[in-house]
Amino acid sequence: MQRREGLAKLTGRERYVDDLPLENFLWGMTVRSPAPRGRITAVRFGKDVDWSEFVIVDHRDIPGPNEILLIERDQPVLAASHVRHVHEAVLLVAHTSREMARRAAQAVEIVVVPEPAALDFRVAPRPEQIQYGADNVLKRLKIEKGDVERALAHAPVVVEGAYETGAQEHVYLETQGMIAWLEEDVLVVKGSMQCPYYVLNALQHALRRDERRVRVIQAPTGGGFGGKEEYPSTIALHAALLALKARRPVKLVYDRSEDMAATTKRHPALVRHRTGLTEDGRLLAQDIEVILDGGAYVTLSPVVLSRGIIHAAGPYACDHVRIAGRAMFSNAVPFGAFRGFGAPQTLFACERHMDVIARTLRMDPVELRRKNLIRDGQRTATGQVIQDGTDRVAVLERALALSTFEEKRRAHTAFNAAQRSKRRGIGLATFYHGAGFTGGGEVHLNSRLRVAGLPDGRIEVLSANIEMGQGTLTVFTQIAAERLGVTPDDVVIGEPDTARVPNSGPTVASRTTMVVGHLIERAVDDLRTRVGLDDRARGSVVKDAIAHWYAAHPGGRLVGEAVYEAPPGISWDEQRYQGDAYGAFAWAAYVAEVEVDLRTCATRVIDFVAVQEVGKVINPTLARGQVQGGVVQGVGWALMEECKFKDGAMVNNQLTNYLIPTSDDVPPIRVAFVENPYPHGAQGAKGLGELPIDGPAPAILNAVAAATGTEPRAIPLTPERLMDLTR
């Protein structure tokens, strides 16, 4: 099936938040902190502005607690007395003219008496820099399996390494934006978001409104990648506060530079490995330390850390594993959800380290992985028994065959000997990604989904899960249509509007197709039961039964429902961090071929092969596109995307100097799927969205290592960084 809303997007008819018609509204603007930490002593309004024309909001206008509801409640909606990072929101202004609002925002001076800021998450804070708990540690987590110290002490070989990854900006092409207005006494907020119910909960909390007086609607969303998971609660609150005070609709849409400066980014990370092995390369012990920069508020850092450490040991079997993780407070813009959610950082370290190990042992990195890839019946670091029937070595072999790995390796030896200034290399990464919320997360979410019959016999899927480019509308349509044996035209996907749809959970964590799609199947079954049919009834029989039901129940409403149920046999111990971390893992092997110019130290990816096992592929075109897009985002993270920080603020907050890959920076991404249907996912699907960003960075750096004989250990591997290694 082709993308359902595709033609509307291609013709420009799709209306995103900034495209929606709006009458008699004000443009909102945000006034932000100039300092990374300090006490606000004054707010000065410039003399050249007629302030009577403006609606102005500060923390005193917040009806409820000045808190953005998330895991913790440490982040204010608007800073009151203290600021904790540059660009923290302090004040809001609104005016009928966007330009006037912009100039007015610039005419406000926030006077801050600076206090000592914590700006390097890698070093222990000095006492005067401590702002969270006793040591600025936002969250500590540990996984222990076996006896690592003892195993390391007896290991014939121990290899150590430290690996660093930088922040990454999402660069969804549509910047963040919200509009807010009042309908009678109901506050309506509509905008670009991944999680309507997160926004709803945040609005209810800080505005002290019950759910009947708040309504959140997702507008078509131009990319998210996690950047529109938690941040939209902030901008929604800001738009709502202005609208409540102005008693008029307010539009708050960031321009690119504000979006890049003020919103979350991928957590920078430092990961240290100490690995014990036999001389022939069998893993005996993995001792891993993971440190994340959390930024100035807790946001989602504890769960990013959780996913990060769970993936840190890689897709390998090892009896003795210790993974200690901590997320640090710093006075940087808060880091948040970004596709992969901690796993890309730790898998970069793990997979780069595997090649360092191979070189130390004078062993083929392919053979090292073949030897250690987890087999069915073996246990992960959390003790989860892998028993899904996937042949992970076969996934690797397929990637090697498609990329002609061995031939290229030989060809590179000849190429590199003949060339003066060019070097070629090939590298790989084997990895995995857990789908859905971690541990008991899906049970805790308790997602609920409805499918309504319509009087004409069609059905409408009512879910809070959103389309942001990844294909929800299309895949949900396919899942419902296939289950009922009807055509895609018989399926309507309802607008994610909290006044109409139940809370089927956030659109994150590679869960939408696998988890929520499966709820659609069960809700459809429930609907069929309610019209007196069993699961074998398909097509016009079902449509006719729905239409007859409405004829027999005037004014009635036919609804099928499903609530999440954990797959059988899943158990998770949150205290000990042991058990089944995820219902299912997707498995992958990626191969990158690079060419390095020794004069400029520029690295170019010249071929890329991505092989993965994601259960059943429901829509091959969309699935391939997800992988290709994720890989290219990973190429950017690996080689060029560098957030430059000063006082914890991104200073290259423009697409002029924060570079993402263009079509000319990447080769065709060659994608292949190995299919092994997962019995508890929709049509046998597992999660796919995040997996593709885990593999490119280590595969590319392993290729650079092979090409140049250096051991790069930090990304982005910019020409400057590589120059330091090669000269």
Binding site: L10, T175, G224, S663
Partner: protein, 154 residues
């Protein structure tokens, strides 16, 4: 604020506007004329989401003061016939859709000028349109499929 009168042809029809001489063509299209198909991605000419044709050439409308198009011919994505876009749908050239109208404008312009491919690759010619979702393969495949006819975009 002093305004100036600007007359130009937009999607085949004459337009006359009184506006601030510094107003961007992008804002004129979107906020004054309600043609919201043209998107703002960066506001500084890097991403290509706001691509329109100015006298038949693709330009970033965020960098063009509307005053400069007086007497000129402007076409926006709204002028593109939907029937032309089948290959883009089939190849997965659109995901989130925010870059898509700009991509379509550049792609159809390349299709209208097949001689460009004697000196440039599709990847080089599309490099002014950033896309964060597709990894570009869907776009390049669509341009490939749609190529070779030399048809004008509009």
């Amino acid at each position: 604020m002093s305004t100036v009168q600007v007359v130009f042809t937009l999607n085949g029809a004459a337009v006359s506007l009184d506006l601030d001489p510094a107003e961007r063509l992008l804002d004129t299209l979107r906020y004054r004329l309600g043609l919201t198909g043209t998107k703002e991605g960066c506001g500084e000419g890097e991403c290509g989401a706001c691509t329109v044709y100015l006298d038949g050439l693709p330009v970033n409308s965020c960098l063009v003061p509307t005053y400069q198009v007086r007497g000129a011919r402007v076409e926006s994505v709204e002028a593109i016939a939907a029937e032309r876009l089948g290959p883009f749908l089939a190849q997965g050239a659109t995901q989130c859709g925010a870059c898509t109208p700009g991509v379509v404008m550049t792609a159809l312009w390349i299709g209208a000028h097949p001689e460009l491919l004697e000196t440039h690759t599709i990847r080089e010619l599309m490099a002014g349109n950033l896309c964060r979702c597709t990894g570009y393969d869907g776009i390049v495949d669509a341009v490939n499929t749609a190529l070779g006819h030399g048809e004008p975009p509009v």
